[in-house]
Symmetry: C2
Subunit: 137 residues, 2 copies
Amino acid sequence: MNIGEKSPEMEAIEKRTRAAVEAYVNAWATNDRAALLRAFAEDATWIDPAGTPPWQGRAKIGEFWDMAHGSGMTLQPVVQRIVVCGNEAILLFRMLVRMPGGGMGLDACDHMEINDRGEIQRGTAYWDQGCMVPLDG
Amino acid sequence: MNIGEKSPEMEAIEKRTRAAVEAYVNAWATNDRAALLRAFAEDATWIDPAGTPPWQGRAKIGEFWDMAHGSGMTLQPVVQRIVVCGNEAILLFRMLVRMPGGGMGLDACDHMEINDRGEIQRGTAYWDQGCMVPLDG
């Protein structure tokens, strides 16, 4: 448990990891598709939710983004916690999903692996039916 | 997002996954070393926190347990959320760590992969300095 004694190299890696996660969150928050794709590696893997087929590569992750924004949906992330362990991170957040006539909150847990260029190389979102909450819950 | 339409096979897998996570939590809650080891596969991998060397196999995971209980420490888990996605799960919990003269809370996020026998095959704990909270926080 000597996590207070990190090498400068590890501190740099963890700073890069946190920046990548923040870039991902900010892309959702500002509804910036291009920024979202830049946060991922060209050959990144995105799985959402875990156990479903992966979205492989930036082009496919763009299709995921478009699907998430279909039917007039808007998405607003509210960060609950960011945990950084080396080049890995856990992002806990509530995504406020609004659509014409309704919406919901989705408490998601994303696991991210960040590459040497500070891009998300692999991301997996964990959520299930119990993670859905009323929009104003 | 058709997570309401699961096959009976998937429902059985997810029930098994949840049971494994609950067995793990209950072992900590009841201070039952043998039960904790039974929750893991004989050749399981445990990493705590992510980025540190793995504890490989039940015997080594037993050493991890002993280390965690050293110096008169007691550990009490308070579950915040269990998320189940097929044979994977995320466990969010606060571990209340008490020791002579003090203690702390540690908000941890465990990722678990459950095998066909309902055992934890691979577990990784994610926490960092920001996850430490006052014991009565």
